[in-house]
């Protein structure tokens, strides 16, 4: 027997209750998603229809797009509560452009640029002035939606051009909507960036120890700024989709989306404390939330009761591995 010592194993992240669960988080989510899928297909005869399943995806694609960028932001230890307000402001600006006679390409561009601008504003406040993001974005959340209210009051913008409807209502092939294609494409890009590039490694590193990163030559503030811009950008894109799907803009558009997007991210296994998570988990969580709301919708469960299931799902899925681990260690208290 050779006496070489085992190579020293340096874990790339601290032993957290979440990641030390006996199954990987993603496996758990797959099991939950399959279970909900099977229950749904038994519960409603209308569920297993390609068009039903296609409609299902509209429940989460817009929030999911925001959640992808939010996941990176939360992994880096920051948060953005203003995403839904950015959607509202971008949609209002698009509505104003419609009144001025803008065409479809310009409308989409305006939505995206306004989103990007709002994200950059958040990013500047957080990185330049060193403010806590949760408070800054509570403020900008009121500010952005407040501007939408000032412009629109109790009015609504309508009259979007017919070609604009493609973003939120169009299909690229058979039952595959443009929204779903965009979501899956974006998920692939975010997966690559977070898990296969040095930028992604830096995002994880910042979430685990921003001070050590600073001393290791990582430009912490610049990366955080980019992440805020990305979150704003995705909110702008989501705004184009929602506005196109609804065909109108009210200042209360996308109300409450920020909490649903964050729920998706947390359900997807991203640590709210930063430093851990995966894009696959977020995508699975998006599908789970879509499955739950759509399945319950087919059973005529009101939306507000569905929210109980989403809330319970969030807490139970997070608590389960912790309780399980304690039971194994025989010290449940």
């Amino acid at each position: 027997m050779t006496d070489t010592p085992a190579p020293r194993h340096i874990p790339d992240r601290l032993d957290k209750p979440l990641s030390s669960a006996i199954f990987s988080w993603e496996a758990l989510l797959v099991v939950i998603a399959s279970a909900i899928f099977i229950v749904n297909s038994f519960a409603s005869p209308y569920f297993l229809d390609p068009w039903s399943l296609s409609d299902l995806t509209f429940n989460f694609t817009e929030k999911g797009l925001i959640a992808l960028a939010m996941a990176l932001l939360i992994i880096s230890g920051e948060i953005d509560l203003s995403v839904a307000a950015i959607v509202a402001l971008a949609s209002t600006m698009m509505g104003m452009a419609v009144q001025a006679g803008a065409g479809t390409p310009l409308l989409a561009l305006i939505g995206i640029v306004v989103g990007l601008g709002c994200g950059a504003f958040n990013g500047l406040l957080v990185t330049r002035l060193g403010l806590p993001s949760i408070v800054v974005t509570i403020g900008t959340m009121s500010l952005f939606r407040g501007i939408a209210f000032i412009i629109l009051g109790d009015q609504a913008y309508k009259g979007y051009p017919e070609s604009f409807a493609f973003f939120g209502q169009g299909y690229v092939w058979w039952v595959f909507s443009f929204e779903l294609a965009l979501f899956l494409g974006a998920a692939l890009i975010y997966w690559f960036v977070l898990h296969r590039t040095s930028f992604g490694r830096r995002v994880f590193a910042i979430g685990n120890n921003p001070v050590a990163c600073q001393f290791s030559g990582v430009r912490v503030d610049r990366i955080k700024f980019i992440l805020f811009c990305l979150t704003g950008l995705m909110s702008g894109i989501a705004s184009v989709l929602i506005t196109s799907r609804l065909g109108s803009t009210r200042p209360s558009i996308a109300q409450g989306y920020e909490l649903e997007a964050i729920t998706m991210v947390v359900l997807g296994g991203v640590s709210i404390l930063g430093g851990a998570g995966s894009i696959l988990g977020v995508v699975l969580a998006a599908f789970i939330m879509g499955l739950v709301t759509f399945g319950l919708g087919l059973l005529n469960v009101p939306g507000i009761v569905m929210s109980i299931f989403i809330g319970l799902l969030l807490i139970i899925v997070i608590a389960l591995p912790i309780v399980w681990r304690r039971l194994r260690e025989g010290r449940f208290a």
């Binding site: 509570i138 403020g139 009121s142 009051g153 709210i272 997070i318």
Partner: protein, 325 residues
């Protein structure tokens, strides 16, 4: 004088006086005592809620479920009142406190025993409690004509020149002031926020204290539930939807650091008053109420910017210099 000016509450108070002065130039009647009493009364519920949120934020936690708790408890007492008008109001208030306490204890238990971050727990219970309101009410509203006159008029009764609602706010403020400055639990709450590790070595049970602050915020949410419903005389699932962020905004404007450990009862009260004055002033100075959201948003951002200057701690200076270099 110099130490006096260090207190951020003084600056906030000066800001509020300035704000009232500015409003008075457009609408002279605003600064009259009768109107200010009205503003105080209008802001009472927000002040109470901000105090409940304050103790949670001080321990580096957050309670996003307060508005949903308010909605649920309000619905429960309104339905009780509609079904059994004979139940005396003080008993209903005790019931409201108890229901709120249970909801808060659920949050606290999950944070304490399962170590789930409070933002995740209360994000979940935010939707659960509001959904539960729908379940207990079946989606129906409780309207003014279903509530007993005593239920509606209790908080409006005048006592020593002020409505009972204002007195309740004053009592709650006094209790929080005593608890935060004169009791061990108040010191523990501050200590946990400043340094949780040192608190453990100092013999403070961090988990249990966190559990207690969630119980407090839950009870406050329950109390506010009764007050809200009897003030606006309608109980529905939509009551106080999104209000949790107003509560946090009041705390932030009041100089309570979201990072924990910094904040005072006076700050929370003044922060709530600041928002209350703005919402009361806009209609009388002929600014569309649609401006309110953007104004309070700007106030929050301004408040954080100003507070961040005062929060730089001595011990961090070396690191900051290194960071800047």
């Amino acid at each position: 004088m110099k130490t006096f000016l260090k207190y951020r509450e003084i600056w906030l108070l000066a800001g509020i006086v300035l704000l009232i002065g500015l409003i008075s130039t457009r609408f002279p009647g605003f600064a009259e005592p009768a109107n200010l009493r009205q503003v105080f009364n209008d802001t009472s519920i927000l002040m109470i809620l901000a105090l409940g949120q304050m103790v949670v934020i001080l321990t580096r936690s957050i309670d996003l479920s307060m508005a949903s708790n308010l909605c649920f408890t309000g619905m429960v007492v309104a339905m009780l009142n509609a079904a059994h008008p004979a139940i005396p109001i003080p008993l209903l208030i005790v019931i409201a406190l108890a229901v709120g306490l249970v909801l808060g204890a659920i949050n606290g238990f999950l944070v304490w025993r399962l170590n789930i971050p409070s933002i995740v727990v209360t994000l979940g219970t935010l939707t659960i409690y509001r959904g539960a309101t729908f379940v207990v009410s079946g989606g129906a509203w409780v309207n003014a004509d279903q509530m007993s006159p005593g239920f509606i008029n209790f908080q409006r009764a005048a006592f020593l020149g002020l409505p009972v609602l204002s007195w309740i706010a004053i009592i709650v403020i006094a209790l929080f002031f005593l608890a935060m400055t004169r009791t061990a639990i108040g010191r523990s709450i501050h200590a946990i926020g400043v340094n949780p590790t040192a608190s453990v070595y100092a013999g403070i049970d961090v988990g249990r204290t966190k559990f207690m602050v969630f119980c407090i915020s839950g009870m406050i949410g329950g109390l506010a539930g009764y007050l809200w419903i009897s003030r606006y005389v309608i109980a529905s699932v939509e009551v106080a939807n999104g209000y949790e962020l107003n509560i946090i905004a009041a705390c932030v404007i009041g100089g309570i650091s979201i990072a924990g450990g910094i904040g005072s009862v006076g700050g929370a009260v003044l922060g709530a008053l600041f928002l209350g004055i703005i919402s009361n002033a806009l209609p009388v100075i002929n600014i569309s109420p649609f401006w309110q959201m953007a104004i309070s948003g700007s106030a929050i951002i301004l408040a954080v910017v100003l507070n961040a200057r005062g929060e730089r701690r001595q011990g961090r200076i070396i690191l900051r210099k290194a960071e800047a270099a």
